[in-house]
């Protein structure tokens, strides 16, 4: 029998988190409706790069039903960073430079907002946009890293000479790479291109803003980082933070895309102007064309090994294809270096990253934040080295994985726990690695291949970012609690996981944890949902708060029962004497008599805590896959996935499995199908909806998926838990790429691995 009542047991979503989603009652940002609400709409630049010479909005303003038309002249001339200037990279000390205006007078990509209207309905708003006359002076534009770096390339921002948004040296470089390469018995090198990927959440981006007569701003937004959003909005509008309340309704998927700020300031500006609530909802074309995508990167890796497979030197050079604004590319590119160079033990490392502005949609974060990109490159380099060294890929990785206590991938902070080696061994066994590879024949039209990738990620981004969350817990008369938290909830069912943590500590049922959440006014600070941090960081805040509440509960019970608190324990909603379980009180009895104390000693049993994470507990894992490649059509079918995950102790196996299955589908999309196409002449995004940009349907999922949890506790996670949201997809594409090579002997250096690319490569191979 488990030592726990709730931790480690599959738990369906709490009623309040799950039921509204199946009955249609869950309110998402797109569903927000307020009396007198107006529709906001954004006029976007049709040019990739253009000066605005003149805007005439008078005709639009005269259209009946139009309540406000705004251009850059009507908006505070304050630059902001869509990914929040106050997200410092703690390690390197760099801060995101604000480089963007709410409405611009110089368009830098097709889709850049140049004006906005508020009108009584969608039809009038659209008509009004057509009536805004904008005279553009088109400027030469650049769409690729190479073009942006040419000496005569047009300058996109005055502050960024040569279109370099950032040049970051690997902050944790060690030893001497040149010496390392000289001492290596085998050096492998390769340049890879990893593409943009779209979050492709189903709920269109939306926002509603309202300014009440006292000047207080309320913003309904699906942003994953509500408190940083509030702070950035305060800066833009020169408001105190307390005068802004960011409300988070249910979120229809986010996957990193919604870490950033989008139409919120436009909605606020329109609401300020009209005095009415204003709601903006993107079309899906607007989403695909203007929301941040995963960055694309050109990555060159050189790795040196000793004969026995020991990695002794590694160097990476990354060119990050940012869009018109640095956005999250500013962090995602440099972090790619850290994932890549920090995964395996290596005494000599060095690297640099150039983040390059182009006249395209801003790029930034998506699930894994640089790690799927790094993994796709480094895990293929590992396979190339294994082949060259004559060592099995599994053995090569086992030789080089880090152990607990060594520096983590994100800096010198020691790894609290890792079972990566165990993950690799178990995964290899479960997929039949050695047997199948021995039997493999490379003949016939359809060829099978096996591939693997090892993975190390993070549970919150400390020490790169401040990882701060808070929680409050208070007991009600009935013995239930209110848990006041605000991590944003993009569908991971983190309320349930956090309720399991609280319930376990408090000896109550998770359904007796009533979650109070959803706005910055309600809850204490929480950085938000990113970097696989909610269970680990907010979970620790919840646990701390629960411990304090429990301390108060037992203290009060001890007075009521006349025993010392140490003699008491709590389980199933009842506090009792350990030595004599018959002697006890229900939590309801204790809570009620504490709130309504006839002796005049009333108080509310409660706990609150802020958790500022200073530890590194990287989740680790291994991905194994078997694929079949049709050598005549180039089609790749993913037959099987085995994922072995060390995410510490698993709090809720049901949701963790769900994360991994979803991660596999996004990873398969990244590896094989998802192609963000920008027209090379016009800069227009051609893959602007689900018909042109293909995400995996259920047919693309492998028939067989095996998920294995190591389930060993981490010393610092709440009940030993580590993060898992992003890790779920980190190694998927790398494993597929390695399996395709195993099947057909051709390595494609650019995702997605499409049939067109495979056939071309096979033909080139034939020609020799």
């Amino acid at each position: 029998m488990s030592e726990f009542s709730w931790v480690g047991k599959p738990h369906p979503p709490l009623k309040m988190e799950g039921v509204p989603k199946v009955t249609g009652e869950a309110i998402y940002t797109v569903d927000v409706k307020l009396p007198g609400m107006l529709v906001g709409k954004i006029l976007r630049s049709p040019h990739p790069h253009a000066k605005i010479l003149r805007i005439d909005k008078s005709k639009a303003e005269r259209l009946p039903g139009v309540k406000a038309v705004l251009t850059f002249e009507d908006i505070p001339k304050v630059k902001y960073a869509s990914s929040f200037r106050d997200m410092p990279m703690a390690t390197s000390g760099t801060l995101q430079p604000p480089d963007q205006y709410v409405l611009t007078d110089k368009a830098r990509y097709v889709g850049d907002p140049v004006a906005a209207v508020a009108a009584v309905d969608e039809y009038v708003a659209e008509e009004a946009l057509k009536l805004i006359e904008v005279e553009y002076e088109p400027l030469p534009a650049v769409f690729t890293i190479d073009d942006a770096l040419k000496p005569d390339a047009p300058q996109i921002h005055d502050h960024a000479k040569g279109n370099i948004a950032a040049h970051v040296k690997y902050p944790f470089a060690q030893g001497d790479v040149e010496k390392g390469f000289a001492e290596a018995d085998c050096v492998v090198e390769g340049t890879f291109f990893v593409p943009r990927q779209v979050g492709a959440h189903l709920e269109p981006q939306a926002c509603t803003a309202y300014v009440d007569p006292t000047g207080k701003v309320t913003v309904w937004s699906p942003c994953q980082l509500t408190f940083p959003l509030r702070r950035e909005l305060a800066k833009i509008f020169s408001l105190p933070e307390g005068m802004i309340n960011v409300v988070t309704p249910f979120v229809g998927g986010s996957f990193g895309t919604r870490l950033s700020l989008y139409c919120e300031p436009i909605a606020i500006a329109l609401a300020m102007k009209t005095g009415k609530p204003v709601k903006i909802v993107h079309s899906k074309e607007e989403d695909f064309s203007t929301l941040e995508t995963r960055t694309a990167d050109r990555v060159t890796v050189k790795a040196g090994f000793k004969k026995d497979g020991t990695l002794i030197a590694m160097q990476m050079k990354v060119y990050t294809w940012a869009g018109a604004y640095a956005a999250r590319a500013y962090l995602a590119g440099p972090i790619l270096l850290m994932w890549g160079l920090g995964h395996y033990r290596c005494p000599n490392t060095d690297g640099e990253c150039f983040v390059v502005y182009t006249n395209t949609t801003p790029a930034g974060a998506m699930r894994g934040y640089g790690n799927p990109e790094a993994s796709t490159v480094v895990e293929q380099i590992m396979d190339m080295a294994a082949e060259k060294l004559g060592i099995d890929p599994v053995e090569l990785r086992l030789k080089n994985v880090k152990k607990a206590g060594e520096p983590s991938n994100l800096g010198p902070c020691p790894i609290e726990s890792t079972y990566e080696d165990e993950c690799i061994r178990i995964g290899a066994e479960r997929i039949g690695w050695w047997e199948k590879r021995k039997l493999k024949k490379q003949e016939g039209v359809k060829r099978r291949g096996l591939g693997m990738a090892a993975m190390m990620h993070c549970s919150g981004a400390w020490p790169l970012l401040i990882e701060h969350s808070s929680a409050m817990i208070k007991f009600n008369e009935d013995g239930s609690v209110n848990m006041i938290i605000n991590p944003a909830f993009p569908g991971t069912h983190c309320w349930t996981t956090l309720a399991q943590i609280a319930a376990e500590e408090l000896g109550i049922s998770p359904e007796d944890v009533h979650v109070v959440t959803g706005s910055t006014d309600t809850a204490m600070f929480d950085l938000g949902s990113h970097a696989s941090r909610t269970t680990y960081v907010t979970g620790n805040a919840v646990l701390e708060a629960a411990r304090e509440a429990k301390r108060q509960l037992l203290e009060r019970a001890s007075k009521m029962l006349g025993v010392s608190p140490e003699e008491l324990t709590v389980k199933d909603g009842r506090v009792f004497v350990k030595a004599d379980p018959s002697k006890g009180l229900t939590i309801g009895e204790i809570a009620r008599s504490t709130i309504w104390d006839l002796k005049g000693e009333s108080f509310n049993i409660s706990g609150k805590a802020s958790w500022s994470s200073r530890y590194s507990s990287p989740p680790t894992g291994a991905y194994f896959t078997e694929v079949e490649v049709d050598t005549e059509t180039g089609e790749v079918k993913v037959l099987k996935f085995v994922v072995v995950i060390d995410c510490g102790r698993v709090i809720n196996p049901m949701t963790v499995e769900g994360q991994i299955q979803g991660g596999i589908s996004q990873g398969i999309g990244y590896a094989l199908y998802e192609d963000y196409v920008i027209n090379k002449k016009t800069g227009v995004v051609e893959s602007d909806n689900f018909n042109t940009y293909r995400i995996a349907t259920n047919y693309e999922m492998p028939e067989e998926i095996e998920i294995i949890f190591i389930n060993k506790p981490d010393p610092k996670g709440p009940f030993g838990a580590k993060g898992v949201g992003e890790p779920a997809m980190v190694g998927v594409a790398a494993a597929i790429a390695n399996a395709v090579y195993d099947a057909i002997g051709v390595r494609l250096r650019e995702l997605p691995i499409t049939p067109e690319k495979i056939l071309k490569a096979l033909k080139e191979k034939e020609k020799g």
Binding site: E126, S283, E285, G634, V677, T754
Partner: protein
């Protein structure tokens, strides 16, 4: 970047004649609304402008599928789903069934009609490719007369049909299949629910192991769906020996004129015409029990 449709005038004729008159009177300004999947999406995306829609959904007598001595008859309002669930289609016109079955959205099949699918004149239509191989005839009604036309002559270019002002398609006739008739449909897609990068339908009549007659239809490899006549020529009269099949596949690839777009490249498409044509004929051989 818009989420709503443009306002338009709406007509709901009660008869084909009434519909035809509306189409004649308003000409290019109006469109026929049947299932609406393609049409309304394109209006929403502002790819086409319309001043009015002629909704034929409530005209009686256009929703049928039946088989008689003249062949398989399909009405203008018969949905893809109705056809997919029709026993006649599944058992007797397997090539059509396979093409419809390969469309993986129950929603689209519930709303979309076979005739509508043909009338939008996309060169990627799975239904059109299979019906071209089956030598389907279009039944067309005009203001004063009716006519019929082979599907083969129906397309003039991308999204352009041979319909005259005032004309609408009221049904499809698929002729009876001769004895010894076999068919195969194949397509390549990016993900399962995508429209085809390339699709191929082959229908052949085999007698005593010999290929008496054959039609090869190709989609997504030219401005319209096309027949690979030279490839057919290479098979007609043979016993579908490997050399003949390879020769036919090579010829088919030479006959097409594909482009590079978001779904695939011209080069790949041409190559795949070869592979799919060969595989389709091979499949027919297996089904017909032809050796070699």
């Amino acid at each position: 970047m818009v989420r709503v449709l443009t306002p338009f005038e709406y007509f709901e004729p009660k008869t084909v004649e009434e519909a035809s008159n509306l189409l004649r009177d308003y000409g290019e300004k109006v469109r026929v609304l049947a299932g609406g999947v393609d049409l309304l999406a394109r209006i929403r995306r502002r790819e086409i402008q319309v001043e009015g829609l002629v909704c034929i959904q409530r005209i009686p007598g256009l929703d049928y599928v039946r088989q008689d001595s003249e062949g398989l008859k399909i009405g203008a309002l018969t949905t893809l789903r109705t056809l997919e669930r029709s026993q006649e289609v599944r058992e007797n016109y397997r090539l059509l069934f396979d093409a419809i079955h390969s469309i993986h959205s129950i929603q689209v099949k519930n709303m979309g009609t076979a005739v509508g699918n043909l009338c939008i004149a996309t060169p990627a239509s799975d239904v059109a490719v299979s019906l071209l191989a089956l030598d389907a005839q279009m039944k067309i009604a005009g203001p004063s007369s009716e006519r019929s036309m082979p599907l083969e002559n129906f397309y003039l270019g991308v999204k352009r049909t041979a319909l005259q002002p005032g004309e609408l398609v009221t049904g499809i006739l698929v002729p009876p299949l001769p004895k010894g008739s076999f068919g195969a449909f194949m397509k390549l897609v990016r993900t399962a629910t995508d429209i085809a990068k390339v699709n191929v339908a082959v229908r052949a009549t085999l007698r005593n192991g010999g290929c008496e007659e054959v039609r090869i239809a190709l989609g997504s490899v030219a401005p319209t769906i096309v027949r690979a006549r030279k490839a057919e020529e290479a098979l007609r009269g043979t016993r579908l020996e490997r050399e003949a099949v390879v020769e036919a596949a090579e010829r088919a690839a030479e006959e097409v004129n594909p482009i590079t777009d978001i779904r695939s490249t011209a080069e790949y498409r041409r190559e795949m015409v070869k592979v799919l044509t060969r595989r389709a004929v091979e499949k027919i051989k297996v089904e017909a029990g032809v050796k070699g």
